[in-house]
Every structure is written in structure tokens, then in C-alpha cells.
């Protein structure tokens, strides 16, 4: 099966090199940055790092936004080796920064590694994820009358989430972990205005922080009730809010994160669940030394 990759603002030399490296496995769609609106259907995005750093960073942020929380790798590639730090590109949303000065085999291996699809949940995992999905839609619908449509779920070990604001809440007890919800600013503003029954002009940053915390509080509270008597039952803490593009949320080690994407009027938000039950299938608690 060929993988559809967007080559954005890539020169002909770069396109030819990529085609030579990846062969028949990929279908390169040559795109201009200015025409980009929705990148959800690409398996990978490759952008050539032409121009000054500020412009490139801005472009990476916009590309990441256009992925709507889907796990689409964004590869920044350059014909020359980078002399400056690659860190700003990564924190802006790039998954990898490559240079054609590196050995061809290494670049091939890295690119193919990013084409490995994210793991989808098993049926037993969907059992508990379905409860989060149902309650997320219900909280949004009850408090705002907006319809939050569940689109997809995948597992990732990448802790970074590229939104503008996240509400997070710690989960402890029989199951422990973290629940987080991430929005871009415009949708967060729309939702909080609807919740409060006021015009968006009346919504400031403080109200958005407060409202996002309350949303995650309601989702965790109603899901908690669903898990009474089940291995995934948890207690909740007071919610916290993180603001800033590309912020990182810490999760328990060795526990994959389920990312659930929802759509509200053609805008998207993501719910992250990192939850590990301490109760094994036989009903005893694991990880506790007597």
C-alpha cells in the first residue's frame, strides 16, 4: 500500500531525492504552504526548511494545527546541515529535523519509522475508553448544546500535545493516571461562551482557564461513576490548566496514552487518557509490596 505524503515547499531536487529514497512505497503530493488547509489525510508531512527560522517555526505551527490532533509526523528537512539548535522546531510541532548531509540509509530508516501507524485500541481497552467518549460528548452537549462528535482514537507514547490550552486531572485509587483535554484557543472560547450563555467578546483568558478546568472535572467525575466496581475505578484530584503551544503533559511511565479526537462544528479537540489499573484480572491489586 502506498502512503500519501505531503511535500510542502520542497524544491525539485528535494522531491527527487525523497522519491529516490522512499521508492514506490510513497505517493508524494507536492503542495504549497499557502494552499494548505487540512492535512488530516496525509500519513506524513515533509517541509523543506527554506527561509529564516521565524518563518519556518510559524509554518510548522500552522501545519501542526492543520493536523487537528492526528498523529501526523511533520519532518523538517534541509539540504544543508543545521548550524543552530533544532529544539525550537521540535517545540513548534516538528517531529524530526533532518538534513540531506546525513547518510541516506539513516534518513530512510527514520522516515520509514514514522510511517509505522499508531496502535489502535484493543476491544478490552475500548471498554473503558467508550465511557470517556460518551461522557465527553455528554458534558459538552449538556453544558453548551454543541455536538461533540467522536472521530478517532489512537495510542501514542509521545507526551507532547500541540494545542493552546489543556485541562488535566490526576487519577488515583484502583486505577491511576492522568486525564487531559486539549483545545485550540478559538474553540475553547466558543465553548466557554456557550457554557456561560454570553457573547464570545465577554470571554477572557481567566474564564477560559476556569472553564476548561471545569470541563475536565465534569468528564472525570461522570466517568468515575461509570467505573464503580470495575478495575478502572479511580478517585479524582482538583484539576489544573496548562497554557502554551506545544506544552508537554507528563504521564505514567510504561503506560500508553490514548488520544481521542472530537469534532465540534469543524473544529477539533483532543482528550488524552493515560490510565493503568492496579487490579489484575484475578482481582488482586498489583504493584503493592506486602
Amino acid at each position: 500500500m502506498t502512503e500519501k505524503i505531503a511535500a510542502i515547499d520542497c524544491g525539485q531536487d528535494t522531491v527527487n531525492t525523497l522519491k529516490g529514497m522512499m521508492g514506490e512505497e510513497i505517493q508524494l503530493a507536492i503542495e504549497s504552504f499557502e494552499g494548505i488547509q487540512n492535512l488530516q489525510n496525509y500519513r506524513m508531512i515533509i517541509i523543506e526548511g527554506n527561509g529564516n527560522q521565524r518563518d519556518i517555526l510559524q509554518r510548522i505551527r500552522k501545519l501542526r494545527y492543520a493536523c487537528y490532533f492526528r498523529a501526523v509526523p511533520i519532518i523538517l528537512i534541509n539540504r544543508q546541515a543545521y548550524t543552530d539548535s533544532v529544539e525550537p522546531y521540535i517545540t513548534s510541532g516538528a517531529s524530526e529535523v533532518l538534513s540531506f548531509n546525513e547518510p541516506v540509509g539513516a534518513i530512510q530508516q527514520i522516515l520509514k519509522g514514522y510511517l509505522i501507524p499508531n496502535r489502535k485500541p484493543l476491544d478490552e481497552e475500548m471498554e473503558y475508553l467508550n465511557s470517556f467518549i460518551k461522557n465527553t460528548s455528554n458534558v459538552l452537549n449538556t453544558t453548551t448544546s454543541l455536538e461533540a462528535v467522536f472521530k478517532e482514537v489512537y495510542f501514542t507514547n509521545d507526551f507532547r500535545i500541540f494545542g493552546d490550552i489543556s485541562g488535566i486531572i490526576g487519577l488515583s485509587g484502583e486505577a491511576e493516571g492522568i486525564l487531559g483535554i486539549t483545545f485550540y484557543w478559538p474553540l475553547a472560547k466558543t465553548i466557554i461562551a456557550k457554557m456561560m450563555g454570553v457573547d464570545e467578546d465577554h470571554i477572557n483568558a481567566d474564564l477560559i482557564h476556569d472553564g476548561v478546568a471545569e470541563i475536565i472535572n465534569m468528564i472525570s467525575g461522570s466517568t468515575k461513576k461509570d467505573f464503580v466496581g470495575k478495575p478502572y475505578h479511580f478517585e479524582i484530584s482538583l484539576p489544573s490548566v496548562i497554557v502554551g503551544s506545544g506544552h508537554q503533559i507528563g504521564h505514567a511511565e510504561n503506560t500508553p496514552i490514548a488520544v481521542m479526537i472530537f469534532e465540534v462544528n469543524y473544529q477539533y479537540f483532543a482528550l488524552q487518557v493515560c490510565l493503568k489499573s492496579k487490579i489484575n484480572r484475578k482481582g488482586s491489586i498489583t504493584g503493592i509490596k506486602k
Partner: protein, 122 residues
């Protein structure tokens, strides 16, 4: 008569205030349990209903409920719990402590109004 709305979320306090507007009563906002007690001390004789969130900083809703029901000055004031915590053990504890009603978040304005009208004579 005034209604105390106690919730650490300003957005939620506004949601509740909008929902109970049809009652036509003045509201007092409190962002934690201690503020509820401070408010009762200052204007307890004007308060006709307390809507209490369970999870609040400084002092939780259940602690407030248990405290005010031990104080003869306030035992007559009805308290409704408005909380994300909606498990049976929590509800049982709230009713044992003297709550008149319990509503879980999220709720529609109609559900909250019906609960208040059904349980409280205002």
C-alpha cells in the same frame, strides 16, 4: 432571601446563576467552603438556600455541610449538593449530613430548577 452558590469555578457559578434566574432571588458567590462559612456569619439570616460543590479548595462542600448542620443558627437553611461526584456512597454521606438534594454535573438548567422547586419551599 438570598442563595449562596459555592463552587471553585467561576464559570460553574455563572452557569448555576443563569439556571436559577427564574427563581428571581439574589445570589452570593463563594469560591471555597470557608467563604460559605464567612458569608453565613455576616448575613446568615438572609440566606434561604445553599448550593454546594463537593470538591473545593480550603474546605470541601461536605465539610461545610457537616459544619453548618452542627450549628443551630444554620440548621434550617436547606443545602443542595451540586457536584461532579455522583457515586452512591457520596450521595449517602451528603444526605446523612443533612443535604436536601443532590445533583450531578453536568446538568441542564431545567433539572436544577426542578430539584430546587421540588425539595425547597422558597
Amino acid at each position: 432571601m438570598k442563595i449562596i452558590i459555592a463552587d471553585d469555578s467561576k464559570v460553574m457559578r455563572n452557569i448555576i446563576e443563569n439556571a436559577i434566574k427564574p427563581l428571581g432571588l439574589a445570589t452570593i458567590h463563594a469560591s471555597n467552603g470557608q467563604e460559605v462559612l464567612d458569608c453565613l456569619e455576616k448575613q446568615g439570616n438572609e440566606v434561604g438556600l445553599i448550593l454546594l460543590d463537593w470538591n473545593m479548595p480550603v474546605m470541601s462542600g461536605i465539610e461545610v455541610l457537616e459544619t453548618i448542620k452542627k450549628n443551630n443558627l444554620y440548621t434550617h437553611i436547606p443545602v443542595l449538593i451540586v457536584s461532579t461526584e455522583s457515586e452512591d456512597d457520596k450521595m449517602t454521606r451528603a444526605f446523612k449530613a443533612g443535604a436536601k438534594g443532590y445533583i450531578s454535573k453536568p446538568f441542564t438548567p431545567e433539572r436544577l430548577l426542578n430539584l430546587i422547586r421540588g425539595r425547597i419551599s422558597l
